[in-house]
Symmetry: C2
Subunit: 225 residues, 2 copies
């Protein structure tokens, strides 16, 4: 669609459709080249709108991606909670449920790292509040599922677990998705091999480690001697 | 110093001194307002140079902060390795050694999150290589200390541990240092209380959990039924 074809959306339905188109474009571009590099102009160009049209819907690029992060949290829990429930009683399978549902969501893993560092700093406090309220609800869903599946875990353990797996997914995703020049560097320098990370097995192993650590603390208090 | 006072540094010593002044200014500004917001112009203004003078020493702001991250890794290991050694045999004290030495280095914790996400993407592949070589040496120092202090841990466990504590320190630091508008939001909304994090105890608890998890896997293989 040429920029000149743009007409202002009039109805509520039209406005919602425009908004959805912008979010879909942002999602597609971020999956292709990483959240960090996508600008408002990229989003506008992709759907054939002028940048000013996009700015009528979203105050900043951070607002676009914070909305995708919000949707991403609900979508992750919609998959993760039943996967945890069907793994009840088995720490390794619970870890697999958490890690697999994250691995299947590369954009969400990318967004997890950007949310506190970049996204929450580029929007209004009201937008952060809306985001936080929904995230905290999703965290509660996670905690309920994890403590039901592994009853030795306390509520605090469940919160620590979701904090840890999100930190690990976020960090491992960034490290395992370097820019092409850095990836080429790794390929040409075998002694940099330890700097490379295979995301899915690393996230699974780390998630299992955290669960085993939380369980071991409940079963045998750590030695203090 | 007024910008007009600037004279190009001629000797190797003068050049090193200029470079050190720029790094010191970047460190001071980043500690005061966070790595994310410090620009090359801020650094230049702080030391009374023109921005073009700073650009003769560092290709981008990312190059400045990648150098501070490099120095930060060596500085962390200089403190962490002896602290781990003096905690040998006690998982909780090893966790304390790791978490305390990170907590004492707020700029490094901030930089840890920025390195893969932002810093490595704003410099040449050569600069990334120099950074990686030094980081991998520091990781080796960590692994040797951790496996000596807790001999049930394998080398792979040591690498998983340093990956996890860096991911946790980075993520917890960002979450526990929101912008002032977001901090005000937390204070005024008690139901957002679970979104706030107290960095030092959270990092200690998470580090201990990961160590206990790694140890429990070595002592009793996880159940697969």
């Amino acid at each position: 669609m040429a920029t000149s074809d743009f007409q202002r959306a009039r109805s509520v339905e039209q406005k919602q459709q425009r908004r959805d188109e912008m979010l879909a474009a942002a999602r597609k571009l971020a999956l292709a080249k990483g959240v960090r590099t996508v600008t408002m102009s990229d989003i506008a160009d992709d759907i054939g709108f002028h940048k000013s049209a996009v700015l009528r819907y979203f105050e900043t690029r951070e607002a676009v991606f914070l909305e995708l992060a919000t949707v991403g949290w609900v979508d992750w829990m919609d998959a993760c909670v039943p996967a945890i429930h069907s793994s009840a009683g088995d720490p390794s399978r619970v870890a697999r449920a958490i890690a697999d549902t994250l691995t299947q969501r590369p954009l969400f893993c990318d967004l997890l790292g950007h949310a506190p560092m970049n996204l929450e700093r580029g929007v209004s406090a009201e937008a952060v509040q809306q985001f936080k309220v929904i995230v905290l609800d999703q965290v509660d869903r996670f905690v309920q599922a994890a403590t039901a599946a592994l009853p030795s875990l306390t509520e605090a353990d469940g919160r620590a677990l979701v904090t840890a797996v999100c930190a690990l997914a976020s960090s491992l995703w960034q490290v395992s998705h370097p820019t092409e020049p850095v990836a080429a560097l790794y390929r040409s320098n075998p002694h940099l091999g330890h700097a490379t990370v295979d995301f899915a097995p690393a996230l699974y192993n780390q998630s299992e480690t955290v669960i085993l650590g939380l369980l071991s603390r409940r079963l045998t208090p750590p030695s203090t001697n």
